[in-house]
Assembly symmetry: D2
Homo-oligomer: 354 residues x 4
């Protein structure tokens, strides 16, 4: 099997396939701007709402799959993935926004509306004072709720752990550009997991790059690795890792393959950061990242066999939810290619066919 793309989708596909005994070559162009490298790392499908797309099937699957994956990687002795079940804190800043907190909770508690319904007891309103206690740099908050099921992950570490575990099972990795499918060796199956760059390999995919700029701020507090993900209703996310708080990201369409940081983008991210959390004003800027999310115009990913091509599969188009949905997508498309997929997963995949 050949896998093109070594981001979180391709890496999980490689991990899944090698664990099942397949011989796998992963070709990774290491394009600057790969979404996995820049993503903030929020894993919180239980706070997503159903929309008119089948994405809720991914949300539900991801909810089940993530802890299994993290445990399996730990059992494999793969390194730290940066995953932590830290909870998620949704905050309102204005009186108008405060009115939304109750409505949002009502939707999430409704199994017909939540994308991945969580235990009702794991969702509860907290006072603004408690919110600031949980995330000390926060400024004024008018209302807040907690979702205990929220988690965060470090995309770069997760990818590293997956590839290490897969390499231990025999994965071969080549780093080189792949302009067309003629650039990869013949194989019993080819999986394209090339993110925003996938349409060059699989014509017909309506996937476009959407730029995200994101900042890592230093915060020297031993408790901060336990802080929840903060989701302001109308501003950028904040989440904490040991020694740092990450804020972002912009959503910039129609900028092409330009994984560059811009004056206006950085300003917006910092404005959002300091509006929500003025306690970060003096925080040192450790790092700026920029990535190109693969956004499917149809609103949900392409997962499955490519019609008209023999043994060609694709897994991309997860937009801003790649770190949440991508691992399951990669793993299951690999099972599809190997023919080891379960009936339930096959049914869940069906609506995402290219």
């Amino acid at each position: 099997m050949v896998i093109v793309g070594g981001g979180v989708v391709g890496a999980t596909a490689a991990w899944s396939a090698t664990r099942q005994g397949a011989t796998v070559l992963l070709v990774d162009a290491r394009d600057p701007g790969r979404a996995t490298d820049a993503g903030a790392g929020i894993v919180s499908p239980e706070t997503e709402l159903r929309d008119t797309t089948p994405n809720h099937l991914l949300a539900a699957a991801a909810t089940r799959f993530y802890p299994v994956l993290v445990d399996a990687l730990a059992a494999d002795g793969a390194g730290d993935t940066g995953y932590a079940p830290c909870g998620k804190l949704v905050v309102a800043r204005t009186d108008e926004e405060a009115g939304w907190i109750g409505g949002y909770l009502a939707l999430l508690r409704d199994p017909e509306r939540a994308a991945a319904p969580a235990d009702a007891a794991s969702l509860h309103e907290i006072t603004p004072g408690d919110a600031r206690e949980q995330f000390p740099p926060l400024g004024d908050v008018t209302a807040a709720f907690v979702s205990e099921a929220g988690a965060r992950v470090d995309g770069q570490r997760l990818e590293r752990a997956l590839l290490d575990a897969a390499s231990a099972c025999g994965l071969t990795i080549e780093h080189r550009p792949v302009a067309t499918l003629d650039d990869v060796p013949a194989a019993d199956a080819v999986i394209v997991a090339g993110g925003a760059w996938s349409p060059a390999l699989v014509p017909g995919l309506d996937v476009r790059p959407q730029r995200g700029q994101i900042v890592h701020l230093g915060f020297d507090d031993p408790t901060c690795e336990q802080w929840p993900v903060v989701a302001p209703l109308a501003h950028h996310y904040l989440l904490a890792f040991p020694g740092r708080v990450v804020v972002g990201a912009t959503r910039e369409d129609d900028v092409g393959f330009a994984p560059v940081l811009t004056a206006a983008g950085q300003r917006q991210v910092l404005d959002d950061a300091l509006t929500t959390a003025p306690g970060l004003a003096d925080a040192p800027v450790l790092e700026w990242r920029v990535g190109l999310r693969p956004v499917a115009t149809r609103g949900y990913p392409y997962l499955g066999a490519v019609p008209g091509h023999d043994r060609l599969f694709v897994a991309t188009g997860h937009g801003a939810s790649g770190l949440t949905y991508g691992p399951w997508s990669g793993a299951v498309v690999a099972e599809l290619a190997l023919g080891t997929i379960s009936a339930g997963d096959r049914a869940a995949l069906a609506p995402f066919a290219p």
Copy 2:
């Protein structure tokens, strides 16, 4: 019957009682800052969500009652109430807010969640371009939906029409202060509808004044009286009357009985106005208003007989929803005092007992 307070609640009580043949004296202190005089005039219970209070009973009742009231006043030959079924336009300004539009619609379409469920067909998303066509001064919008059942009313005109119609049925009005209930003549029933000033007359009510500042901007466009109410998800409302656009209002707690306009309050209202609708920049300022909403700390109004007092009734505490809920509340408390209330209305009133 004596009614204390001539705002929208007291005026509807007087109208209801006189139409039923009762002899009614309305005593009105005409305190500056009366909420009815300042309220923007939004009547849109169908876009409210249920919360943990019984307010949805008022929303449902108001939905049924408003058209009946307006028709009855027209049949009485009372003057214009400023009521118009103009629809309501909910708009998002950021990408994050855009994500809420679908969720909000889902809640409103769910009869278990909407406070006053409307016909699903009357709620529909529209494009940002259509939103600006419906309300031309709007700036950038990222998503929007329309509720066709939304309406607006002019509080001052509605009160005038109610009192005129009641006067034609024999209502007596006295304008003088009422410091205690000893200041009103003995009567078979006394209804206190004194808004934020009610606790002085009915000890035990936990009702406090909440200040709202609001602006009226001139807009010389013959179509503007048909424009919908605009509800940005995180900023102040805008609504149009012939020749004017009204924007507001602040929600200022803990300022006491100080119905004054302030520098920061005016700035906030104008910032909200011009952020949502930059097309209003050159609009002349016709009028600033300020009112004190009667906010019940328990989160829902006091409606019904006062325990421990013979034949004393109260109707107040509607907070920011006085123009929406107040007419039904006033009318039905009058029926309660007269003993003409229906079984259904009596049941709906029950949770609001003082």
Copy 3:
């Protein structure tokens, strides 16, 4: 003598002429938007710099004339003019602005550069802390200086006092519109002091209305009548009268004869007020005013005999400096018309000929 226009220029002309025994009719159209009624009231020519116009002659003359005028009015028993030699406080808000304080002081101390050079000792830098002590609502300040010679006046009161004193000397006042000079009776001399409306009466004047919006905020502090005028380097002025702080004003060209308050104008004034003086946030808004300054396109006023007309004089076009320069202009043009002008004043007037 007939004087058209009863603002500060016309009123001083009337006062000057009647005191000299002339028989004077003042015709005042009382147009809404008269600049005198709205002006903030800063009288601080000693902080003006020379430019390429002859305005410094007015500055110097006004400096000498103002105390004389105020004393004379007091001796006449005319009422309070609101005049107070309260000093002026120039403040910088940013580091960049702080760099200007020293340069500004250097210019003002240079008799070749200052428009109306003051005693060097009356100009001195003070610390930001002292600045806040002098004007308590001030926010952060990076540098400041005081000009002890600064003063403020109440335009409406000054006009009232001038007209009262003139009436006591026999002035006749008529309030009626004056569309053309045919609307005024024949007289030995006609002085047009009609502000922005003057061009209709004296063709050839290139004077246009410039709108200014201004706010009066209540401030209940017994010391505030002694507070200095505050001039931020890059924002609107603030000045205090008993019980109130006045902030403004906008400078809006090309809006025609529209003395209306606007949404954007009010927002700008309040933003400036609260940026400079956040201590005014909760101050009640007592009053909004709007006036149309008569701005001469050539950059300096029209003062003197109108060429080609017999015995027709004009005094207008003072722009934003009307309350500062206007009294001397009015008084001296009256002397010019009466033939009682001194040689020095005649020379000072010469460059301002229409």
Copy 4:
């Protein structure tokens, strides 16, 4: 001779001394945050005003020295210094600021007020339209003037060119920390040019670090290397080099030796950049720099022999003007140490004695 510190001051001292035949060892600790590496590169003493310090002597000397230095380096065959006589454009953004343009020009044209008086003809007002033509990304401007004598330089390149030229004349460079003067070899003279770190070597200097954060934005326009330095009256500077626009810098006192970029600092720089020049919104961020300026509390540098020490000299404390004044300071202190200084330069140096 031993020189401690290899920033622009130490490098020029080394260049000057080696050209005169001295044997020189330069010891450079290469501390992160060296001001020379981060400085924007404005060389425009002719737009500085005199203050109460002797800094105008440095301004005048720098004005004469810079072209000589640049020519000498060119003659030496040293590489590009990034120096260009691009002119400087001073811009006002508000009406209030516009009032300052004339006053500033008047000061600069006055030989008693300008720090380094330029030819009057080289200073002239231009229209806002012309300002935008000279610096296309500029936004709204209300007034502007040009100083043709303004220049810019690249601090890193200048230092490189100086050290290359000095090395060609026999300079020895060692990179290692210098905690005390005992760490440097005995020499006939020691010059400390250690910037903000100098007080550790020369007790008694009241010099402190002031942090500056600065951004380099890409701008792909062949003309941009000819654009003038832009100095908004109340915001950060902008200047252009081939392919880039540099904006900054913050002035942060009391942050110690912490050459870190911060969330609030980056936000302020970007806000200033985009407020003045909205045309930079989409410009890619090439680089962020941060430096610690050596600020002398007394307001002017320490230049000369250290009292009580034999043959110990110091040259530091130039604050935000190091790239402008530093080269002359370094060169002349080297001459002082060698005994080759002219009488005129000795007199100019006198007020700066430690």
